[in-house]
Symmetry: C2
Subunit: 103 residues, 2 copies
């Protein structure tokens, strides 16, 4: 039973590790985001949202809804075009990167 | 000519004043937002975005896309239900209120 518990815990830890984004990878992948959202996640254009310090799960959610073409506002098609090439891991990395920046 | 310039400027100033939201009114109108986005605009639930200090034009844009039912993510229908009763002035007031809060 102890072995089973340890094994289950290791599996859960592995899943948790997989689910977490890597902010260092996210920083590299964020090159395409900087023009509109700023190098530091503080968007120079006020029609675009600041991303620095935003909640990580919300950032991942928002990117996934853009990727799924579920956002249709006038600013959305550019975001969908960018998000459509992103993997789940890319999205988790980007979310971890921006969530970790100082607002 | 000077009079025409002054008149034009006054008209533009009036338009700008109309376009600007009133953060005090926004605070009152934000009662429906606090459960998910926090009293201070710092959402207690990480799946929802922090609003405190977000760019004012983006906040207004986001509310208007929800109101127009242009966002279809799994979290969007609640926001659309809330936004659909808001006037443009309500939205400008809410955007001014949240943009003015400390991140």
């Amino acid at each position: 039973l102890n072995r089973a518990i340890v094994s289950t815990c290791l599996t859960l830890l592995a899943l948790a590790a997989h689910a977490a984004g890597d902010p260092e990878s996210g920083k590299t992948k964020a090159a395409a985001c900087a023009t509109c959202h700023g190098e530091d996640g503080k968007s120079p254009m006020a029609i675009y949202p600041k991303l620095a310090g935003q909640n990580e799960p919300y950032l991942a959610y928002a990117l996934k809804t853009y990727r799924a073409n579920q956002r249709k506002g006038s600013q959305a098609s550019l975001m969908t075009a960018i998000a459509v090439v992103l993997s789940d891991q890319d999205i988790d990395d980007l979310a971890a990167y921006y969530a970790g920046l100082k607002p």
